[in-house]
Symmetry: C2
Subunit: 352 residues, 2 copies
């Protein structure tokens, strides 16, 4: 049968371009596969051998996207980092539960397929999947004119990992006097871009925005675009040895909601995480956003990670393991008894 | 700490509205949970107990969206079916591999959160998950001004199911003379909406489009909007007994690419699926789209399901099991030997 896609292309969906893109990315995808992947891609589902289990293994899953960071990437035509962002965001989410990645699927939607952008995203996705030992087993590429703004796209990721039930980390073992250790972020990661763009005036005329993104802010040897597009860090390598040691009592991935919003999710009743904001300095990009946007400090800390991308809570005796294992880890607080419902207190927060 | 979301709201992201929506949907989500779900929602990942396995169980996963059908739903403010569409599309995809659903995650993105629309989508999602015995264990709701068109949204679904390795259905056992049986669709399901909207003139002025959607096409007692929004059928109930019997050799879920594009994915080398297009009548909605858009028949069959939503291939001796099990199943073709690379031949296809 011929493939007469004339009317469909006129209506805005180019099946041939989509098929071509599929062929070209197949090799990259195959490079993420391991012995657990059956039958490759092309069937109606992705096949991944389930971990051996007597009922003691738990699958941990998460869905996420990169937010409006993709708008900065689109302006600069630099999309590799977006793929990395997507995978690492998901990897960190299930890592915070104690789980290691098994497999990943992506959803990429755009009004009109730009094969170059898609290839870059897939390049980043597959690179980050390989780094995480995670197989990319499927995905969907959708051309949806009318839903998305011209020239934009969105990308969502879906990860499944595994953890032995006895080794799930959910904060339940956290006790008074435990130590809260922060691991540095590489910038905004994937949260708060709508506020950052508004504060920096990056939601206006595209040409003006591009010029601003190509400039280096005072004191930086990277352009604003480079600072904003720095990929979301994966904490898998830093955290895995600690999971092997069995010393981790709670972890939080600092995404939307900031330190308080995310650390608060794992603090048991009757306890509070006391965080000392003077124990680290936020990356300069956060000061720039705060100043340019005249954003009050409390809002900055409730939207951005402010320099701490991942939090680990351990017994005081075990803190050295964490601090010596990661050069960019530092003690940022401790667990205290609490008589109210407050889960996190930020000490040193200035209202201005 | 206060929750000072003023600047973020001005920039287009309303955290309070998102939090409120989260609380209100929690009960619906919990209703999809079974004994395999651990710890509910609210942590960094969804927890689902892995099936017991000695290395013989395979996890089958799929990612999908509903396409520009959401634009019709948005115009008519009828979103429940979109949630059903999303789940059933994913359920059918892994079903075509022989897998039953375990758990599901969703990704919902919009420029500005409309809680009523989100609630309707979740109502549909959770209803369809319950029907499929599938737990909704997580998801992400993103407010992304600048990526999406005002008033629109997109929704993607991710499903994980399981099948014993020995019971994977991938078409490998298909032989010459096997019978191809089609199960009826309920209309477009979730494919071809961009072409359908263009053909029916539904991508113009919103008020005019709404009027047209509220009219009943000649010979129909349903409005055009109702015909277009009919939810994607789930074939799980019809197919499960056949899987128990062990008689299914190949299955195809007819989505983008139509009958030829999807049946072709499971036909082994040296064989061809010969489909007789005169063996069923496409639903009237397809004739309407074809006539109004002056779309050639070959393109109609390469974009739409044309009335057949799912295809089952069995040994001739087993065909009665399928035909008596589903009142809307009919023989649509047979498997023949082939000396070329053509995987599917559509007999009775008129060029006009």
């Amino acid at each position: 049968m011929p493939s007469p896609t004339g009317a469909y292309r006129t209506a805005g969906v180019d099946i041939d371009a989509a098929d071509l893109a599929k062929d070209q990315i197949a090799a990259r995808v195959a490079a993420t596969h391991n012995a657990s992947v059956l039958r490759g891609i092309g069937l109606f589902g992705g096949f991944f051998r389930a971990p051996r289990s007597d009922g003691d293994v738990v699958l941990v899953s998460s869905a996420d996207s990169v937010g409006t960071k993709v708008l900065i990437a689109a302006l600069l035509r630099r999309h590799v980092g977006i793929g990395i962002d997507l995978v690492n965001h998901c990897v960190n989410d299930i890592l915070a539960c104690g789980a290691r990645p098994l497999f990943f699927l992506d959803y990429y939607a755009t009004p009109q397929l730009d094969p170059a952008a898609l290839h870059q995203v897939i390049e980043g996705l597959t690179h980050a999947c390989q780094e995480a030992g995670c197989a990319l087993v499927g995905g969907e590429t959708a051309q949806l004119p009318g839903i998305y703004q011209p020239g934009s796209y969105d990308v969502a990721g879906f990860i499944v990992g595994a953890v032995d039930e006895q080794q799930i980390i959910d904060g339940a073992r956290i006790r008074e006097n435990d130590i809260i250790i922060g691991l540095r972020s590489d910038g905004l990661h994937t949260n708060g871009f709508t506020l950052a763009r508004a504060a920096l005036g990056l939601d206006e005329n595209a040409d003006d925005v591009r010029k601003q993104l190509d400039r280096e802010p005072a004191g930086s040897d990277e352009t604003l675009g480079e600072l904003l597009l720095r990929p979301h860090r994966s904490y898998l390598a830093a955290i895995s040895p600690l999971l092997e040691l069995g010393i981790v009592k709670g972890m939080a991935h600092i995404t939307g909601g900031g330190i308080a919003g995310n650390v608060g999710r794992i603090i048991p009743e009757g306890l509070v995480a006391e965080i000392d904001l003077d124990s680290w300095s936020p990356n300069p990009i956060f000061r720039l956003i705060q100043e340019r946007g005249s954003i009050p400090a409390p809002e900055m800390y409730s939207v951005f990670n402010m320099g701490i991308g991942f939090v680990v809570i351990v017994n005081p005796d075990d803190a050295t393991h964490v601090l010596t294992g990661s050069s960019d880890a530092c003690v940022i607080g401790r667990i205290a008894a609490s008589s109210d419902q407050t889960k996190v207190r930020l000490a040193g927060l200035k209202d201005g």
